[in-house]
């Protein structure tokens, strides 16, 4: 078999082989059972004592949300101030300036919400101080926020009628000390030994073989890249993200980074099965997610390996596939796999330039973000999926003429209202943003911003439209990758995508938590012959249909104007 394709298959199988035991481990951690990382317990006790937290105090779903939103607000203000002031702060060997208010607004939100849309370039727009004390810090805590929120939902699904859903701080801190920090450490060591830089030496200068003077940006990259992937964050050290040879030196690091970003989202699906002792239910979810991922992956690999038809017409050979925006050491197959993994999961790191990918790949990447729950980001992927489960239960219930029940709780009008609002929020914020930006582009081409609207698009025609569609989709899905040709470094994009990101993060956390909390309070109805079984393939098909109808079809018109139109123009 072609070594590029076997590389992709190996990467996926390795992910599964690691994700299943990790899922079992995560379930044990949050059930409070013994694990081999129990030596972290004293560290946790110190953290709780220092912070004045009593982990024995159980919270209801509203208290969980208060805790979550309070600490996130603290981080937002902290990040914003640091980014504005970075020029005057220490650890700035390359003497980079502070960010403008609108860029700092966008960047602070972006990293807070696990999105990592970067409207600056790492080499010049951030300092070692902000890379560490803002970005790396938020990489950890934003991922832990998502996972802790998911654990609350796990807990609500497990217990019989109850208000008490554990302690948020406990879930949050243990996610860091038991999962994120130890695994990041292992990944960072692997990366460092493969040539990724770790030192604080700053830029270097050398004279090349041909006599050019070259400056090389460096930095303590390995520690950041480990958590950037493990936490499905995606915000890179360098502008070119994981296409940069220091941020992703070789094929082994490429596999490592791919496994790292897929690991926790897949493990959490299995963790759900182990935690609730409903393994079959977890397999159904895993099956639906994997099927969805493959349906996006296969056309993308096919398109990229076949190369660009417009370049084929020029008569040159594309033996490996389309190479614009791709690196030789990864090749188009692994780049295609990465571009789908990073979009179905909300990582948003890249190892090739998505803007230069084939139109079919562009459709698939955007669909991955529009659905946003084929695995999905750390914790939030399953929270998004949970919304679709609720809707699927409700619709199935109506179809067979029974009261819809899920895990012994009746789903009624209130839960359905929340679920519908959250499901519709995603298309709403994307398409409204797109409509506004299209209007501004046409009617205010010379507005006096850092980048004039007339200069926003790097490509003409339908591809330019795709650049804007991708940007809002990526923001709403908290993904963070981009069609980077878009001139997004100005107040319009900083502000609008900032708003879209923050809505696209917190409402889809609040919604599922509220539903889970409300359901946990309801009377438990024991399973009977009339209960809709949630752990069957029939139900899996039902969820899949709901996802396709709600998430994918609502975007069809906009996709038709963008990448679909471009696809047919390339023939």
């Amino acid at each position: 078999m072609n070594s590029e394709i076997s590389g992709v298959i190996f990467t996926y199988l390795l992910t599964l082989a690691l994700a299943i035991p990790l899922g079992r481990y995560i379930a044990r951690v949050f059930k409070g059972e013994k694990t081999w990382l129990d030596f972290m317990a004293p560290v946790e006790r110190f953290i709780f004592r220092f912070s004045g937290i009593d982990t024995k105090k159980e919270m209801n779903w509203k208290q969980h949300l208060f805790a979550l939103l309070t600490i996130n607000s603290v981080w937002l203000i902290y990040a914003f101030i640091c980014l504005m002031a970075q020029g005057h702060l220490p650890l700035n060997p390359d003497a980079n300036p502070g960010q403008s208010a609108d860029t700092a607004f966008n960047t602070a939100i972006s990293f807070l919400v696990n999105c990592n849309l970067q409207h600056y370039s790492g080499e010049s727009g951030a300092t070692y101080f902000t890379q560490h004390f803002v970005f790396m810090f938020l990489h950890f805590v934003s991922a832990a926020t998502g996972i802790a929120a998911l654990i609350v939902v796990f807990r609500a699904l497990k217990d019989k009628v109850t208000d008490k859903l554990g302690n948020f701080w406990d879930y949050f801190v243990k996610t860091i000390t038991r999962v994120l920090l130890p695994i990041s450490f292992v990944i960072a060591v692997i990366l460092a030994f493969n040539g990724m830089t770790t030192s604080y030496a700053g830029k270097d200068t050398f004279i090349s073989m041909q006599g050019d003077t070259v400056h090389v940006s460096r930095g303590p990259v390995a520690a950041l890249v480990a958590i950037k992937h493990l936490g499905t964050n995606g915000g890179g050290w360098f502008g070119a993200n994981s296409a940069h040879p220091i941020e992703n030196p070789n094929y082994l690091t490429n596999i490592t980074e791919l496994v790292a970003q897929t690991l926790i989202p897949v493990a959490l699906v299995f963790a759900l099965g182990f935690y609730l002792n409903k393994k079959k239910f977890a397999y159904v979810i895993f099956g639906v997610m994997t099927l969805g991922m493959l349906m996006l992956l296969i056309p993308t690999m096919n398109a990229e390996l076949n190369g660009n038809p417009a370049i084929a017409k020029m008569g040159i050979s594309q033996p490996t596939g389309a190479m614009e925006g791709k690196e030789v050491r990864f090749g188009p197959a692994s780049s295609a796999y990465w571009s789908i993994i990073t979009t179905v999961i909300s990582t948003g790191s890249i190892n090739s330039m998505h803007d230069s990918a084939m139109p079919v790949s562009g459709i698939m990447m955007m669909l991955g973000m529009m659905v946003n729950c084929f695995y999905g980001g750390c914790g939030v992927g399953i929270l998004n999926f949970y919304i679709f489960i609720i809707i699927a239960v409700f619709i199935s219930g109506l179809m067979v003429g029974r009261t819809p029940e899920f895990f012994g709780r009746k789903i009624e009008a209130r839960e359905m209202k929340i679920a519908s609002l959250i499901a519709l929020l995603h298309p709403f914020i994307i398409l409204v943003g797109l409509a506004i930006s299209s209007y501004v582009l046409v009617h205010m081409p010379n507005a006096d911003w850092a980048v004039k609207p007339s200069a926003w698009l790097n490509n003409p025609g339908s591809h330019g439209f795709s650049e804007m569609l991708y940007e809002y989709t990526s923001s709403a899905a908290n993904n963070g990758s981009g069609f980077e040709g878009l001139g997004d470094g100005n107040i319009f994009w900083n502000f609008t995508t900032g708003i879209v990101m923050i809505l696209g993060r917190f409402l889809p956390i609040i919604g599922p938590l509220a539903i889970a909390g409300l359901l946990a309070n309801k009377k438990y109805i024991p399973e009977s012959a009339g209960t809709l079984k949630s752990d069957t393939s029939t139900f899996g098909v039902m969820i899949f249909a709901v996802i396709v109808i709600i998430a994918a079809l609502s975007f069809f018109p906009s996709l038709a104007l963008g990448p679909i139109a471009e696809h047919f123009s390339l023939r």
Binding site: M209, A222, A322
Partner: protein, 188 residues
């Protein structure tokens, strides 16, 4: 509010120290043990540093193997791709010009022999590699200019071809900088 705000502030402070302080410093410590000591592995030639093993550099002279086109002109202070869409007419014109330029400098090479990476920009703009085909197609030109046999050069490219990882996974590649140093070291 106090129930949540105070723990939030204290927890944030402590986690900043652990996650943004202790953790990266520990990794920096481990990095000291790696081959490049965490500074990145440099390549020495004739007693001076001529580049980084991982970072591609500009080779435009006919007597060297050319690397790939770069959207940032191999300026490693930054990085980035062209972000040109596959149907962009300006971009396609540019590719066409690169093909014409390559054929001018490599007479006798036909269009079908030119692999795509030689006329398309990489994602980082700093791609250090070529495919083996991308190096082989330049052998005739370099052999003529340097007055060495094409066979010897083809052999040199083969020696510098790095096989897929474990021989099974990913593409084969040639590091252009290392190849060009070996080229300069060849006895004429």
């Amino acid at each position: 509010m106090k129930t949540y705000l105070l723990p939030s502030l204290k927890l944030t402070l402590l986690l900043i120290v652990i996650l943004a302080g202790i953790y990266p410093l520990a990794i920096a410590g481990v990095g000291k043990l790696t081959p490049g000591h965490g500074d990145g592995e440099t390549i020495q030639y004739k007693g001076r540093t001529v580049g980084y093993a991982l970072i591609g550099q500009k080779f435009t002279k006919d007597e060297y193997f050319w690397g790939r086109p770069s959207a940032v002109d191999y300026n490693a202070a930054g990085s980035g791709g062209s972000n040109k869409g596959p149907s962009n007419p300006d971009y396609l014109k540019q590719v066409d010009e690169r093909i014409a330029d390559f054929m001018k400098h490599n007479p006798g090479v036909t269009r079908e022999q030119i692999p795509a990476e030689l006329v398309t920009a990489s994602g980082s703009g700093l791609d250090p590699d070529l495919s083996p085909a991308g190096a082989q197609v330049q052998v005739a030109r370099i052999a003529k200019i340097r007055g060495v046999s094409a066979q010897q050069l083809a052999q040199l490219v083969n020696e510098h071809t790095e096989k897929p990882w474990l021989g099974m996974f990913g593409p084969a590649k040639v590091n252009v900088l290392k190849l060009n140093i070996a080229l300069d070291e060849l006895k004429k």
